[in-house]
């Protein structure tokens, strides 16, 4: 299986706070990989680093064989050279992020938000098709399609953010706590849907989730992060049985 | 009190050099520079000391005017001041020079009360009072108008003229049937003109600065107005014909007395235009005379005493008699005001034609020339 995303020894800091320290991981094409960890362990930071929203202080990130980010301090061929693609270029490579805190375009309607998600898609028919698919999947969004997103409920906005990311037809989708604020039924649905797009549309999924049990069940592989470091990596079924994980993240 | 020794004496100029009114400051400052340059070219004071002109920008406001005089008086130790250009600043600066004992000659502060600040304040421009008086009487008596409309700006100069003209016109028996104002910075006067058109006066008096007058004339023509226009010394700036060339025909204005005839005036205009690329307006003309008067006074005092005593220079300025200025013969009244007559001109296409020189004595219009 091909390695789609490779994170090689990256570090990220916020001033003095070392949010990520020497993190390495990889996501194979076609897989669902999950990342779990306590609050503040650095999960969101990692996702932001992948899409180029946080600069690296060390390491590099490669997507589909092309290096998309490298820290300024890295030495390449005897030279100190940083390099990075801006977020929009990374998005154009086929990476979509469902950001933490939803970040919907509040003054746009649901429909316009979906259109923005498909900004890089030029085929009008395809866009219309995908939109319909989204309304099928989240009927409430269909009912609210002409409503400004700012007036949606928290959960509706979350659905909106997920649907928007799917609109671009990404190769890799990064989900930052997709279940946040969603009703139990909907969460179950979403995990099913994730599975479906993964199987049918061959979208690779990288999932960050507090609900570790569901995340691990849905994924093939899992990483555990603590204080900005990866402390465990295994296939998900093994992690589900892991004592340490059970105690710390499954609430048992 | 002040008075510096033999080193090159300095004189100051204060006027708006930047901002909305910069043009008026710049034109007058040009004159002062020209006068000083010519004076120095002839050898300067006593044939040996060149005079230094220090220009400061008032930006047309009192705060900057005061800082300018502060600088001129405490850093440059000037012995005389040309300016400031506008009434508001002139009041503030006038109080200050009076206090410091520096003689000041304003080329364009027209407010009637300026010279009553004190004995150090002079001007080479007629006060609004006189110009307005001549204008009102002339419009009534010689032009035979009984109703006049006015379009003036809410600034000291324009409003002063409006009030002066109205008082004398109505005293003579006429009536200002409509007076419309606009604010500084406005460029569209169609509302006011439309209102005036509807009031249908026999003529319209537009006492304003050049740029606004050009604008008014053009817009009046756009509104198809055929009413005769009357104006003030602001019209003596030849710039008006560049800006509103097609619309100046027939305008009658009150301006400096008979300047067009004098050869020194033509030479001044030619030199000025050659040097600065634009022509002088009447304030610039006044500034030129003012500067020359100041320089002559300094020369006189220096020759007599070998120093530049501020008080002595003031006295010498006050003693100026029949100074042959480019704007005519200059004399100062007891209070520092210009003793002057008003010229009347009628524009033929784009050339002003001289109609006569007038003054008002005891409420009666008297033709001098």
């Amino acid at each position: 299986m091909k390695e789609l995303l490779t994170i090689d020894d990256i570090s990220v800091s916020y001033g003095n706070i070392k949010a990520l320290q020497h993190v390495s991981m990889h996501v194979n094409e076609g897989n669902i990989v999950c990342l779990i960890g306590a609050n503040g362990s650095g999960k969101s930071t990692l996702l932001k680093a992948i899409v180029g929203q946080e600069p690296l202080v060390g390491g590099s990130i490669t997507f589909d064989g092309e290096e998309i980010c490298r820290a300024k301090t890295e030495v390449v061929k005897g030279e100190k050279r940083g390099r990075y693609l801006t977020t929009d270029l990374i998005a154009a490579k086929g990476i979509a992020l469902v950001p933490e805190g939803r970040r919907v375009f509040a003054d746009m309607t649901v429909e316009e938000n979906l259109d923005m998600g498909a900004f890089l898609v030029r085929d009008e028919n395809l866009i219309a098709e995908r939109k319909e698919a989204m309304y099928d999947f989240f009927p409430i969004l269909g009912a609210r399609r002409r409503q400004k997103t700012r007036s949606l409920s928290g959960g509706e906005q979350q659905m909106m953010a997920i649907a928007r990311a799917l609109m671009s037809g990404p190769r890799l989708i990064l989900l930052d706590e997709p279940g946040l604020g969603l009703a139990p039924l909907v969460i179950a649905d979403i995990f099913e849907k994730i599975d479906m797009i993964n199987k049918q549309d061959k979208v690779t999924v990288f999932l960050v989730e507090q609900n570790a049990r569901m995340a691990l069940k849905a994924s093939t592989e899992g990483y555990v992060m603590e204080n900005g470091r990866i402390v465990l990596h295994d296939v998900s079924s093994a992690l589900l049985e892991n004592e340490q994980v059970r105690a710390a993240y499954l609430g048992e | 009190q002040g008075g510096s020794e033999a080193a090159s004496p300095k004189i100051g100029f204060i006027g708006p050099m930047t901002g909305d009114y910069a043009n008026y400051g710049v034109l007058s400052n040009n004159s002062a520079m020209l006068a000083v340059a010519e004076f120095n070219a002839k050898g300067g004071i006593g044939g040996k000391l060149p005079v230094v002109l220090v220009t400061e920008d008032s930006e047309g406001n009192v705060e900057k005017g005061l800082s300018s005089i502060e600088k001129l008086s405490s850093s440059d130790k000037i012995v005389g001041l040309i300016g400031p250009v506008f009434t508001g600043v002139s009041f503030a600066v006038g109080e200050r020079v009076q206090n410091e004992g520096i003689v000041m000659i304003s080329p364009s502060a027209t407010h009637a009360d300026i010279t009553s600040i004190g004995d150090f304040v002079f001007r080479t421009v007629v006060s609004d009072g006189l110009q307005g008086e001549v204008a009102g009487r002339y419009f009534f008596e010689k032009l035979g108008y009984r109703t006049i409309g006015v379009l003036y700006a809410k600034n000291d100069y324009s409003q002063g003229l409006y009030e002066g003209m109205t008082a004398s016109f109505e005293a003579a028996g006429g009536k200002v049937t409509i007076a419309e104002a606009f604010n500084v910075g406005d460029k569209d006067f169609k509302t006011q003109l439309t209102k005036i058109r509807s009031a249908n006066p026999q003529a319209i008096y537009i006492p304003n600065y050049t740029a606004e007058m050009a604008q008014i004339l053009e817009q009046a023509s756009q509104l198809g107005m055929k009413i005769p226009f009357l104006s003030c010394d602001g019209f003596s700036n030849p710039e008006i014909y560049n800006l509103a060339g097609g619309f100046t025909d027939g305008v009658i204005y009150v301006g400096p007395a008979k300047v067009k005839e004098s050869p020194s005036y033509s030479k001044f205009v030619a030199d000025y235009t050659a040097k600065y690329g634009v022509g002088p307006d009447s304030f610039a003309t006044n500034a030129y005379d003012g500067t020359n008067i100041l320089l002559a006074a300094m020369d006189k005092v220096y020759k007599a005493t070998g120093k530049f005593d501020r008080k002595a220079i003031r006295d010498a300025v006050a003693a100026t008699k029949d100074f042959p200025g480019v704007s005519g013969t200059v004399n100062f009244a007891e209070n520092g005001d210009l003793v002057a007559y008003q010229g009347l001109y009628k524009v033929n296409k784009t050339t002003p034609e001289y109609l006569g020189t007038y003054t008002v004595v005891d409420g009666k219009l008297v033709q001098i020339d």
Partner: protein, 304 residues
């Protein structure tokens, strides 16, 4: 030269008063108000009119100027509080322009564009504080700025300041914490207006003449610049900002450069300095005042 420096200090002092007021409105309350010039004018004219027409002493006119501006602060504060951000800016800008327009046109009261001259100099214990002799005037002004500063500083470090900060940060949360946001916004306006009125009074007895042309919209902008340049939400910085902006604007005259360079260069220089300063320190020279309890606030964020 030294005299000229004193003059800069006096102007800085007068503007510092306005900047303190602007800071409480914009720096603390987070409201972008562009109307200090209006209050400044009201204060100036109050003093000018009362002193020349009714023979009041400066000290008697001072509280009137403050109260009158405060009243107008309340008047425009109350209704305009419904407005956010730049809508508020426009409404306040409009108010400032209205004040100037009215002063320029109400000839019977304000003498219109001619302005009011010959304003009597203030007396203090029998001494005339002659603005030409700058020490006494400066002294009087410094005391006033100091009092205003201490007062504002203490208010800001009390419940009032915290409430205003809360309103700035998040109105909805502030409301839900029992803070009457309208009340605090109006307080900010009243306080900000009254010091600007006092500044106007001082201006009137310093220049001894007032004309409507002095109180343009540019004055409000300059005051805003002082606050932002110093650092929003920091009273010391507002005073520093006032001093620096005045110093920059008068630097060419102070150094004698003004008579050497073309007059426009002075303004161009001012513009350049403004741009460079902002890029160099967008948070202002001193930045927002550090949180009283805890660390200094982060550099880049906050404010209206």
């Amino acid at each position: 030269m030294f005299n000229f420096f004193l003059l800069i200090l006096i102007y800085a002092g007068i503007y510092a008063l306005m900047a303190l007021g602007q800071n409480i409105i914009t720096g603390y309350g987070g409201m972008l108000s562009l109307t200090q010039a209006g209050f400044f004018a009201i204060g100036s004219y109050a003093t000018a009119i009362l002193a020349t027409r009714f023979g009041w002493s400066f000290w008697a006119t001072l509280p009137v100027a403050a109260l009158l501006s405060a009243f107008f602060g309340l008047l425009i504060g109350l209704p305009t509080l419904r407005l956010k951000g730049d809508y508020l800016a426009i409404a306040t800008l409009g108010f400032g322009e209205i004040v100037r327009n009215v002063l320029n046109n109400w000839d019977s009261l304000t003498n219109g564009p001619m302005g009011i001259q010959r304003i009597p100099m203030p007396d203090l214990f029998g001494f005339t504080i002659n603005p030409y002799k700058k020490y006494a005037f400066l002294f009087m002004l410094v005391i006033t700025v100091l009092i205003a500063y201490l007062l504002f500083q203490r208010l800001a470090r009390s419940r009032m300041g915290r409430a205003l900060t809360a309103v700035r940060e998040d109105e909805i949360a502030a409301q839900s914490m029992g803070i009457n946001i309208t009340k605090y916004k109006v307080y900010a306006f009243i306080l900000g207006a009254s010091v600007a009125g006092i500044a106007g009074s001082f201006q009137a007895v310093f220049t001894l003449s007032v004309t409507p042309g002095t109180y343009t919209f540019m004055v409000s902008i300059m005051v805003l610049c002082m606050v932002v340049l110093g650092g929003m939400g920091n009273f010391k910085a507002s005073i520093l900002g006032a001093f620096i902006i005045q110093l920059i604007s008068y630097l060419p005259q102070l150094t004698g450069l003004s008579s050497v360079i073309p007059p426009q260069f002075k303004q161009i220089l001012f513009g350049l300095i403004l741009v460079v300063m902002m890029i160099w320190r967008p948070q202002g020279l001193l930045g927002r005042e550090s949180n009283r309890y805890g660390k200094k606030a982060a550099k880049s964020k906050g404010g209206a």
